[in-house]
């Protein structure tokens, strides 16, 4: 089952990394390591590039979907061989993101789902499994939802972003806000019980009242959602949104307003029974996204598709991190020429110091916090004295006030020791 000889690395594999690191990553994946129970699949197609988006995606021309799926299945086959000893390794969480996964044609979806189940033992909802697909409200159809539900998809995440037409336009999102409700209804009808919504706030010109209206609209949806991700608009480098900001098309939201919007979000969702379990993620009890928690808890996950990132934990020393090459053609060529190996770049070998820093950085963003033993006692005490952190029963957690300063706290705690 496991490959004995490793193929020669084509040049496309090594961009941004040492040849040696890419080879050692493959050895690590092929060798003995801890359990891998999660998989991320990246579908790069979009029908329009949203102006705030810095994910790898491009406008779909339909003609490359078939060959994309061919390569994806090859990569999944190789990944399955690496995931664990079993013929069909067990996956507890699968997350298909993009891009716009719902833009993949129904026939192609059938092939992806068939292949996935052939190669992996994907846990069903009843077994505690979680299989999420990101959907754009505009592209959801009853047929697609039926195929996804039949293929074991347990959860959809719908990119609503806003219900205000003007702000959607600023973000260059072109969907009709009414389609969010329609998409959720189609998912529910197909039997997909777990539904999440993405919202964006602090868009240029947005008022606190407009944000409140968006929140009320999200909470009033029927059928309802169990989970909400709400992100303050972030101006990522090399995005159209940032270029427009720099050009002076609009002004960044005032810091005070952004904080007020966040406070409103936390309070309103708490009222509605959705607790903050991560800086920007809220859920009814038990409805947390297990796949994302795997990221934040430094668990291992496999990565498939262009620009997908993976992590392979190897104990106390931390884990390997890597990213697939982002360009579709490079990725396809890399997969095809190496017998399904992911063409990785930005490979980071395990390193204990880095692992600690990452644990602190991502763990502090969670309600559950981190093992206080990771922290320098003096540095931790200083954050507690500031009122931004509490240490209880061996866990260090941010306070409500501290959540506003998660980066600063992490910066200081990461640096000490």
């Amino acid at each position: 089952m496991l490959p004995q000889a490793l193929p020669t690395l084509p040049p496309a594999d090594v961009r941004g990394t040492e040849v040696g690191d890419a080879r050692r990553l493959r050895e690590a994946l092929a060798g003995a390591h801890g359990p891998v129970r999660s998989l991320y699949v990246h579908v790069p197609f979009c029908f329009h590039k949203c102006h705030y988006c810095d994910f790898y995606s491009f406008v779909d021309t339909q003609d490359r979907q078939g060959v994309f799926v061919d390569r994806l299945l090859e990569e999944l086959r190789r990944s399955a061989a690496c995931a664990g000893g079993a013929a069909r390794p067990r996956l507890e969480t699968v997350f298909v993101g993009g891009g716009t996964p719902s833009l993949l044609a129904v026939d192609q979806w059938r092939r992806v789902l068939d292949g996935l189940h052939r190669m992996f033992d994907v846990a069903r909802a009843g077994e505690g499994g979680e299989f999420t697909v990101e959907c754009n409200p505009e592209t959801v159809t009853a047929e697609l939802m039926g195929v996804l539900a039949a293929g074991g998809v347990t959860r959809v995440s719908v990119g609503a972003q806003s219900f205000n037409a003007a702000h959607l336009k600023t973000l260059e999102r072109w969907h009709d806000p009414a389609n969010v409700e329609r998409a959720l209804g189609l998912a529910a009808d197909a039997g997909i019980a777990r539904r999440s919504l993405d919202l964006i706030y602090a868009t240029p010109g947005q008022t606190l009242e407009e944000w409140r209206a968006d929140l009320e609209r999200a909470l009033g949806l029927a059928p309802g959602v169990e989970h909400l991700s709400a992100y303050a608009l972030t101006y990522e480098p090399n995005t159209a949104m940032t270029a427009r900001l720099e050009r002076g098309d609009f002004a960044r939201a005032d810091e005070d307003l952004e904080v007020d919007m966040y406070d409103l979000l936390v309070a309103r969702l708490r009222d509605a029974g959705m607790e903050r379990y991560e800086v920007s993620n809220f859920a009814r009890p038990g409805a947390e996204c297990r796949h994302n928690l795997a990221y934040w808890r430094q668990e291992s996950w496999l990565a498939a598709g262009p620009s997908a990132s993976g992590h392979l934990g190897v104990g106390e020393a931390g884990g390997w991190r890597w990213k697939n090459v982002p360009r579709l053609t490079d990725w396809m060529e890399g997969v095809a020429s190496s017998g399904g190996w992911s063409p990785a770049q930005d490979v980071e070998p395990p390193q204990a110091g880095r692992a600690r820093a990452e644990r602190i950085m991502t763990g502090l963003r969670l309600r559950e916090g981190i093992d206080a033993g990771l922290l320098d006692a003096t540095a931790a005490r200083r954050e507690v004295e500031r009122g931004w952190m509490v240490v209880e029963e061996g866990r260090a957690r941010l306070t409500d006030a501290g959540f506003h300063f998660a980066d600063g706290v992490a910066r200081r705690l990461m640096g000490s020791r």
Binding site: E255, K323, E358, G408, R412
Partner: protein
């Protein structure tokens, strides 16, 4: 052989350097190819080759009707800050070419320089340059010269330094119209120093004009004002290539090298005489350089980290670097002064004095470029005279040094007379600007159709900030100005202190007229609120006169430091981002826990609308 010593004087960009080069070329002193590089203004070449070839005086030869002439061009510094140097250079001459751009006409500096030349009793030849340009209007410009300077319009020589048109006529006029050197009236030796430059290999090169007697290589000479003596090791002339000579005699112009280590030993305007047979009196007109504008330079360091203060630890070595850079630069420019200062808020630095605003900018730029240091510069201030109750007179170069109110009788500030040349349609706006700056109207003069000159007396403190920029913007770039300090005048001046987080920041203190204190204080607080970043705590910014707070603003505490998104793939990127933020560097100064960026120190300069 007859000798003609002369300068070319002009407003900036009216073509002085091009004309000088064209004259050198016309007298065959330089080839066509060499003429590409402007000889009298060749700082670039100097930098490239690392040697001093800048010539402040060039000697060439010309023949008119079989008679041979030695022509000595004496270069003059091109800016208002160096009026004294210009006047010394003119003293070395008997004549001057007054160059005026045929498209721009008479400008403020043209007038100022013309008056300087007239005061030295020089013979002026009016030259209208750039007549090849389509927009040239030589007849009108000739009328302006007659109107404003009083030189007959028909005496103007029309030239194009670019094409060479009119140059032979100009050379002839120089030879026939300008007077030769006056005959010496004494047996002693006297030479006037009109410029000096520092050369890495030979030390200081002194440019001088001999008025009486002769200097020879090997002579022991004495600088009468500086009271220093040196043995002459080299004499010569620039033609424009240096040509050594055994002696320089009365009426001649040339250079002197005498193993002089620093420019501080040589003063422009000083008189060189023989050590053993010294002249009884120096040549008239020598003055100590007078610094009129002062500011502090501090080494710029990183702002304090949220937790510790790594920035402060680096400060000591940065101060030494700054000291080295300033000391080195002072070898090259003896006209700025510096002394160590210590500020509660900013640590150790230097209080420097300059001849004017431009001079200050030049020094700051050279320190950063040539000295490789990063500087926090405080807002410039002028010299104030304070008369204490007990009759003691004090000179204050720093608002922080102003004695407590109630201990002195009066404060006097420097007043300048200012000439502003401007288009007629802008007069209303510019008069309004002058009134806002406490200026006293003196006169208005017609220059030519559509152009006027305004004369004011105005406190120097009012023009060292943004006055010139405002004038340029009100006149769409057409307004020009020139100023000259005339004296000191008492007024109701108060010290305005700025407190950041309760700590007075001396570097932000200013001296203002009492009537304007509240407005300035409010503006300053607002400006600082915009410039100083939010901190973990609230920061009050206050403006106060004595213990009375007259304006206040508050910088709110930072309310968020968290990025919204962190996906699986973002972990590496986000970690690197946080690490980078930790190292983030900015030119800041830490004052009582508050990081103040450089821009904030310059906020003092802006006076609002």
């Amino acid at each position: 052989m007859q000798i003609r010593n002369f300068s070319i004087i002009a407003h900036i960009d009216h073509g002085k350097s091009t004309l000088a080069d064209r004259l050198l070329q016309a007298t065959n002193a330089v080839s066509e190819r060499e003429a590409q590089a402007q000889f009298l203004d060749s700082m670039d070449i100097e930098r490239e080759r690392g040697i001093t070839i800048k010539a402040s005086a060039v000697t060439v030869f010309h023949q008119i009707g079989g008679e041979k002439f030695m022509l000595n061009f004496i270069d003059t510094p091109g800016h208002v800050d160096f009026t004294y140097e210009v006047s010394r250079a003119l003293t070395a001459c008997e004549g001057a070419l007054l160059v005026v751009d045929a498209t721009q006409g008479v400008q403020a500096q043209t007038v100022a320089n013309a008056y300087l030349a007239v005061n030295q009793n020089l013979e002026l030849i009016p030259v209208i340059n750039k007549i090849d340009l389509p927009s040239a209007r030589p007849d009108e410009v000739a009328m302006e010269i007659e109107q404003v300077i009083g030189l007959p319009a028909e005496d103007c020589i029309l030239v194009s330094a670019k094409t060479g048109q009119g140059i032979p006529e100009l050379l002839e006029r120089i030879c026939t119209r300008l007077p030769g050197p006056r005959t010496s009236t004494m047996d002693f030796t006297r030479g006037l120093i009109f410029d000096a430059v520092y050369d890495d290999y030979r030390g200081v090169i002194v440019y001088l004009r001999m008025f009486d007697g002769t200097l020879k290589v090997g002579d022991k000479v004495r600088m009468m004002g500086a009271q220093r003596s040196f043995v002459v090791t080299e004499l010569g002339k620039y033609t424009p290539k240096p040509v050594k000579a055994q002696s320089l005699s009365e009426g001649e112009t040339g250079y002197l090298v005498a193993n002089i280590k620093t420019l501080a030993d040589v003063r422009i305007g000083d008189t060189v005489t023989q050590e053993y047979t010294p002249a009884p009196e120096p040549l008239p007109g020598y003055q100590e350089p007078k610094q009129m504008v002062f500011c502090d330079f501090y080494p710029a360091i990183e702002g304090d980290d949220e937790d510790g203060s790594p920035g402060q630890r680096k400060a000591a070595s940065d101060f030494e670097e700054l000291r080295d850079a300033i000391t080195k630069l002072s070898l090259n420019d003896a006209s700025f002064t510096f002394q160590t200062v210590h500020s509660e808020a900013l640590g150790f630095g230097f209080r420097c004095g300059f001849l004017g605003l431009l001079h200050m900018d030049i020094i700051q730029e050279r320190l950063e470029r040539e000295g490789g240091v990063k500087i926090i510069q405080t807002a410039p201030t002028v010299t104030y005279q304070v008369k204490m109750h007990d009759g003691e007179e004090r000179e204050i170069h720093n608002p922080a040094d102003l004695p407590d109110p109630g201990t002195f009788d009066e404060i006097r500030e420097p007043i300048v007379k200012i000439d502003i040349m401007l288009p007629e349609r802008c007069i209303g706006d510019v008069m309004k600007l002058c009134q806002e700056r406490r200026a006293e109207f003196k006169a208005q003069q017609f220059i030519s159709e559509g152009r006027q000159m305004l004369k004011y007396e105005i406190p120097l403190a009012e023009i060292i900030y943004d006055f010139y920029d405002k004038l340029k913007s009100l006149t769409s770039g057409y307004g020009t100005m020139d100023y000259d300090v005339t004296g000191f005048h008492a007024d109701d001046l108060v010290k305005l202190d700025i407190l950041v987080n309760g700590t007075p920041v001396e570097a932000l203190s200013i001296i203002v007229h009492r009537d304007k204190a509240t407005v300035r204080g409010r503006l300053l607080c607002q400006k600082l609120r915009e410039q100083i970043p939010r901190h973990q705590f609230e920061i009050p910014i206050q403006a106060a006169i004595g213990s009375k707070v007259i304006a206040r603003e508050t910088i709110k505490s930072v309310r968020k430091d968290v990025t919204a998104k962190c996906y699986g793939g973002d972990v590496s990127r986000k970690r690197k981002l946080l690490e980078k933020q930790k190292e983030g560097k900015k030119r800041m100064k830490s004052v009582g826990q508050v990081n103040i960026p450089q821009e904030a120190f310059m906020a003092v300069l802006e006076q609002g609308e």
